[in-house]
Symmetry: C2
Subunit: 149 residues, 2 copies
């Protein structure tokens, strides 16, 4: 039944803890600034990237590894908040196209002003360039799904 050795267990627990700690810190800073969660940022970033051609929810779902129903409702909230616009999809009557609004762009920028420094504090300030490169390299091997990203 292939039990992991202590080196593996150690790497695993460190991964959980480091992630928890870093993420909690970053999310807390956003919240303290009265801003939405990271998931909202991720969505808005993808929407901005897809620009005028828009993006379909199912594509977003794949990119962000979200549950279908979770995304559906996240989009509801974000639309209600005025950060995105849902349009009918010409090609596919079942689908829709998503676009970021001006308000959404503004919010994403405001979030980045908090998010960026928070990342730096949580990661960049604690590691050397070499360490970060090594870290990225190793973590990359844990990501099975080969994303261009």
């Amino acid at each position: 039944m292939a039990i992991p050795d202590s080196t593996t267990i150690n790497a695993w627990t460190r991964l959980l803890r480091a992630h928890n700690h870093a993420l909690a810190t970053v999310e807390a800073k956003l919240k303290n600034s009265g801003m939405p969660q990271l998931a909202w940022y991720d969505v808005m970033l993808e929407l901005e990237r897809s620009g005028v051609s828009g993006i379909r929810p199912y594509e977003l779902q794949a990119k962000l590894l979200l549950a279908q129903y979770g995304l559906s409702r996240l989009l509801n909230r974000m639309e209600k908040a005025g950060y995105l616009r849902r349009d009918l999809c010409i090609d596919d009557g079942r689908g829709q196209l998503l676009f970021i609004t001006g308000k959404g762009k503004t919010m994403r920028k405001r979030m980045w002003e908090i998010y960026g420094p928070a990342i730096k504090e949580a990661v960049g300030d604690n590691l050397s360039q070499l360490e970060m490169i090594k870290l990225s390299e190793i973590l990359g091997k844990l990501i099975k799904e080969k994303n261009a990203n």
Copy 2:
């Protein structure tokens, strides 16, 4: 405002993705086996470690980095499931002492039979010993709170 450089951003996104991917895989395996979530495992492990002397919820909370109200209700569910026992605390009338039950011990073992191999698959099988050691070392620098753990 100290924006992070691309190396930092890269390390950050890899950390999020690797963690997401690995954790989702592991949790999915537990769920497919009809078992509780990882949080339950963590609690039961701590309860086992604290043995006959028991452990206070607030200590558990600190160890596992859980929200106070979250833990309170998690303990409710676990107690209802028969995995732990709550006893009055002699020293402190506000508090309580937690103990794992036989049923809890059995479940923790059963979970480990899934959890262990899942960790190995998610981490151990993808990295060399040296990489895991390096990973642990680097991630350790991201964990501010100095736990003995």
